[in-house]
Amino acid sequence: MGATDPTVPFATDATPRRPVPYGAERLYVKTLLKLVAGLLEAVSETDEVVAAEVAGLPDGLLAEMSVFGAPDVGLRVQVRGRRLVAQDFEGASDEQAPRIEIVFKHITNAFLVFSFQEGTAVAFAHGRMVVEGDLAHAMRLVRCLDRCETIVLPKLIAERAVKTLRGLPLAEQLPLAARTLGSLARVLVKGIR
């Protein structure tokens, strides 16, 4: 009976080892989610497509991504008109505001998605995360995130992140990416509240 049977020897060199330690995954995801929050704010300033999607969301809506078992890891953005505003995930939030939450079931799940090893839709199909809140709003937020990734990521990586890459011509993508990253720098300098 497996591990409880002392007569069954275990090959020690066959013990599964983690390619990336959990602690490193946690640090990476935490850092990246901060960046993504800033990026969502930035892209809602520079890109009309995202601004139009955001305009269809209820004003004041809080959108959160969090990780089960890692209470300090996550992102929170708030809808203000046509803009998304990044908030400090560990700070207090308006309990009364409408809320939509994407919860990764484990830090490794979040790591796979944010290191672009598993696309967002595939991760959802694999049951790696759950969505809580109004699903129509979730669909809209996913479109914002997809668009955001299409703008700032190189095509090769973006292809792995989104379901159907609606690539922009490079002549369009590069200036938009530059403006968005400039805007991101501003968001990060001013600090995420």
Binding site: E118, A121, V122, A125, G127, V130, E132, A136
Partner: protein, 395 residues
């Protein structure tokens, strides 16, 4: 897309076949309950099915079963509250739902109130509010379509806002699905065809969409095979009990499949078209199915091609070269729709429904891209693409 990881859940006991109804009293007793409330609607009662079920229950020792039969086709939170009150008045300890989708969804919601307390089901909207096991619920479906007897969802209208509110929890799963051919024998041709195509769509979307997995595939393939073989036969001879039983099983199998793998663009279009034009769900499914398969074809050619086996049988499958199988699957579905139009006047295009105007299509497309069913469609769908599918389906 099926590789990697999957989850599968179906805790529902299936009682399928002849005299399945007669098994119900014993199975209820096994769960330690003695006093079920029978929840149904006036149409089912008029069809004489309540008498059939009550007689079977009484012969099994369950005397004077209280009955709530005031469930409208579009049930609401006030209906749920009334049924819950009746259950409390009679100190019921379980529920038996006899009917179609609306009755089953209502019964699930009633079970929440009678098990957890309260008068307004709306208080349980959102996630995690239904937090523990409910009292036993047995479902006796009188249509072969929704699959609600094996899903964890209930959709009930909110009387105040007029909007449909959905409730989802593993605890909403019924305890048993009872598939007895007597329950669907009297289903009129149009509803037999429409609900059959709803089940067909559940199975096909389950097989084609992103959350497919080996277990959901197994259920989906069996469901498609049973519908392809029996739907037309049953329409030609409605009293064919064997055929009816095959369709009932197919609907349950398809329900097990899609509740574990989700649906896709056919349902997203169907939900929004149904809401805008007040069309029955099954009609929308049948109208959109081939057009959506054509839309998804370039990314799911293999999966759609594999469906030719359950759709057309081994001989046709073997005779058709691999590159032509996907197109042959879609052609087979179109042929089935022509038969259903001939036998039951089930519309094949939006124009044939007579309820949708071309001018409605942009609004339907706009609403469609926000529908959660799109999340697992194998291809992303823009507003323009949704509109293009709608235009083609208009006819």
């Amino acid at each position: 897309m099926s590789s990697g990881y999957y989850e599968f859940f179906c805790p529902v006991k299936v009682l399928a076949g002849h005299h399945a109804l007669e098994q119900v009293p014993f199975e209820l007793a096994t769960l330690g309950v003695k006093r079920p409330l029978l929840v149904t609607d006036a149409g089912v009662r008029r069809a004489g099915l309540v008498d059939v079920v009550v007689a079977a229950l009484e012969a099994g020792g369950l005397k004077a079963v209280p009955i709530f039969d005031a469930i409208p086709p579009d049930s609401s939170n006030t209906v749920v509250a009334k049924a819950a009150e009746l259950s409390r008045d009679h100190r019921c300890d379980s529920l038996v739902a006899l009917g179609g989708g609306s009755v089953i969804d209502t019964a699930k919601a009633v079970n929440v109130l009678t098990s957890l307390g309260g008068d307004d089901i709306h208080a349980y909207a959102g996630s995690g509010k239904i937090a523990r096991k409910l009292t036993p619920l047995f479902v006796l479906p009188t249509t072969s379509g929704t699959g609600s007897e094996v899903t964890n969802i209930s959709v009930v209208k909110d009387e105040l806002t007029g909007l449909k509110q959905s409730y989802q929890s593993p605890f909403l799963m019924p305890d048993a699905a009872v598939l007895d051919p007597r329950l669907t024998l009297g289903l009129p041709p149009f509803f037999t065809a429409a609900t059959g195509m709803d089940a067909m769509t559940h199975a096909i979307e389950s097989y084609v969409c992103m959350q497919k997995n080996p277990l959901s595939d197994a259920f989906a393939v069996k469901a498609i095979e049973k519908i392809a073989r029996n739907l037309v036969l049953v329409l030609e001879s409605p009293k064919d009990a064997e055929g009816r039983l095959e369709l009932a099983q197919a609907a349950t199998f398809a329900g097990i499949a899609f509740s574990n793998s989700m649906v896709g663009l056919v349902h997203a279009l169907g939900h929004t078209t149904g809401a805008v034009a007040h069309l029955p769900h099954g009609v929308c499914m049948s109208v959109f199915l081939p057009y959506v398969l054509e839309f998804n074809l370039d990314v799911r050619r293999d999966a759609i091609g594999e469906l030719l086996l359950p759709l057309a049988g081994a001989e046709v499958f073997a005779r058709t070269p691999v590159p032509e199988r996907a197109a042959a699957s879609i052609a087979k579905i179109r042929k089935l729709r022509d038969e259903l139009y001939r036998l039951a006047e089930l519309p094949r295009t939006l124009a044939e429904t007579g309820k949708v105007k071309r001018g409605d299509l942009p609004r339907i497309a706009e609403l469609c891209v926000d529908d959660a069913a799109l999340a697992m469609n194998p291809k992303d769908v823009s507003r323009a693409e949704a509109l293009a599918v709608l235009e083609r389906a208009f006819g």
